[in-house]
């Protein structure tokens, strides 16, 4: 994309029918660190890469609880993402207060999308520079949505956004057909594996990712580092035992996380 004379205002169309400011806002999403979401019929897992500004600083918070039954992962301008999360929390709690019932996630994303659209049609505003993966429940089960700066929203079985998300998407494309009936544990494992894809070579450690789960009968919560590390250990160990390439797909999971004995056999180094 190059600079042109139609890209200064969000309220200026290009001759080919594009709003460049909106497209530039979508570019901002691609620059943020990766966020991944997947869902089964009853659960949604949101995961993201913990990228810190520098070695001295801590990483930014990119996954937010909106309500017991809704969570959101963001990529792009995290400041914009925080503001939108606050809006979502407000909508959810107002609905809860009036109706004593959880706000269906499908309705929340429409409100969010309409809010984003407003910013694409006012000369004194700019589009939000953040993409949101919204996971939540409503009467028909678990859902995952992606909200764009353009004001569009789409429903997904699994999706990834942010930098190097294409690698995660490729992994998810291979596996998504089985997600609807996945168990909760398998879903978490697939999420962490998708995060690994975006790291491209860097060793996967639990400190590098944040994982959150919500589902029918399970309120939104973050997984602690120990649980994540245990899941990582199950497939890292399998990868060690199989003398294959780095992108080993774990075999049908027999045990989960029960390998935390700390007794890792040292495999011979690959040359």
């Amino acid at each position: 994309m190059f600079r042109n004379q139609y890209d200064t205002d969000v309220t200026t169309w290009s001759p080919t029918g594009r709003l460049f400011q909106v497209e530039y806002a979508m570019e901002a999403v691609k620059q943020g660190s990766a966020a991944i979401g997947l869902r089964s019929r009853s659960h949604v897992v949101l995961a993201c890469v913990n990228k810190a500004q520098s070695e001295l600083s801590s990483h930014q918070k990119k996954i937010f609880k909106v309500d017991d039954h809704i969570g959101v992962a963001i990529a792009g301008l995290t400041a914009d993402g925080r503001v939108l999360s606050r809006y979502m929390r407000s909508e959810a709690i107002n609905h809860s207060f009036t109706y004593e019932s959880p706000l269906p996630v499908g309705r929340l994303v429409v409100h969010l999308a309409d809010k984003a659209q407003v910013c694409t049609q006012r000369s004194w505003k700019r589009p939000y520079g953040v993409g949101l993966l919204v996971g939540g429940l409503d009467e028909s089960g678990a859902h995952l949505y992606y909200n764009c700066p353009s004001g569009n929203y789409f429903e997904y079985q699994a999706f990834a956004i942010g930098s190097r998300s294409q690698a995660a998407k490729t992994y998810l494309e291979r596996r998504f057909e089985s997600f609807a009936d996945s168990s909760r544990e398998d879903l978490i494992k697939d999420a962490i594996l998708a995060v690994r894809e975006t790291l491209q070579g860097e060793t996967l450690k639990s400190s590098l990712c944040t994982v959150s789960v919500l589902g029918v009968g399970e309120p939104f919560h973050f997984l602690d580092q120990e649980t994540i590390q245990n899941v990582i250990d199950t497939f890292e160990k399998v990868a060690d035992e199989e003398e294959g390439e780095g992108e080993a797909e774990p075999a049908a999971p027999a045990e989960e996380g029960g390998d935390g004995t700390g007794d890792q056999d040292v495999a011979p180094m690959e040359t």
């Binding site: 009036t98 109706y99 004593e100 019932s101 269906p104 499908g106 309705r107 409503d138 009467e139 028909s140």
Partner: protein, 245 residues
């Protein structure tokens, strides 16, 4: 006798003119509603009277209405306020249907919405002069709740408004069971309505019974109860106290 209440900004007292902008007394009122949960859902009974003070002026008022797919609302108190509430709920249900997304408002949601409305109006010193009964069934779960004009709200297995509080509740406390069949439930409600007919001067002998189950809401055609006036004690009521009436 007039009295003024400080409203809104709290430092000035409103005149009679402003008073006409808010509800001070009810004019056309409906009497009790009685409702119970039963095996398959909820049963509700009300008569069809609208009193204008002590005059039994209107005799064909439906005081129970279906709300959406899952709920039934019954009201006692000011009839015009009930009609206003029906308009609010109409809008609510319309917007809910327009989403067309497989989610729908259940009786719990409607009850809580009404509680908010009633309480907020009470806080502005402009109440909707009703006691509302909200019953419904959704996803196999029965729900029965009440909201008063001051925003007091609760759920129970059996509820009654107005005179029903005093006359029907004791009967329900003694005789209600969780597994009542439809016939037994109707018998129980008719027992309560008969007592109300005898003893509540604003009750009329023309009632409807409404049933809500998972399948939906049905309101019966109006009918009347058999009454008996030949109790010996009432044949010569002043026998024991000559000169009284």
């Amino acid at each position: 006798m007039t009295f003024t209440i400080p409203i809104d900004n709290g430092d000035s007292v409103k005149t009679a003119e402003a008073d006409s902008q808010r509800t001070l007394y009810p004019y056309v009122t409906g009497t009790s509603i009685v409702a119970i949960k039963y095996k398959d859902g909820v049963l509700m009974a009300s008569d069809m009277g609208g009193s204008y003070g002590s005059t039994l002026r209107y005799k064909n008022i439906e005081r129970m209405k279906a709300i959406g797919k899952h709920s039934l609302l019954g009201a006692s108190g000011e009839i015009s306020d009930f009609q206003e509430i029906l308009r609010y709920l109409d809008e609510l249900v319309l917007n809910d249907n327009m989403w067309d997304d497989g989610n729908s408002l259940g009786p719990k949601e409607v009850h809580n919405y009404l509680t908010r409305v009633m309480y907020n109006r009470r806080n502005k010193f402009n109440p909707l002069w009703n006691t509302l009964v909200l019953g419904g069934v959704k996803n196999g779960e029965s729900y029965l709740g009440m909201v008063s004009m001051i925003g007091v709200s609760f759920e129970d297995n059996h509820v009654a408004t107005g005179f029903g509080n005093h006359l029907a509740r004791p009967i329900l406390r003694d005789e209600w069971r969780a597994d009542l069949s439809f016939e037994d439930g109707v018998k129980l409600l008719e027992k309560c309505m008969r007592v109300l007919l005898y003893r509540d001067r604003s009750a009329i002998n023309k009632l409807q019974i409404a049933k809500i189950t998972e399948e939906g809401v049905t309101v019966s055609q109006p009918y009347s109860l058999k009454t008996f006036w030949e109790f010996k004690a009432f044949n010569n009521p002043t026998a024991g106290a000559e000169g009284s009436w």
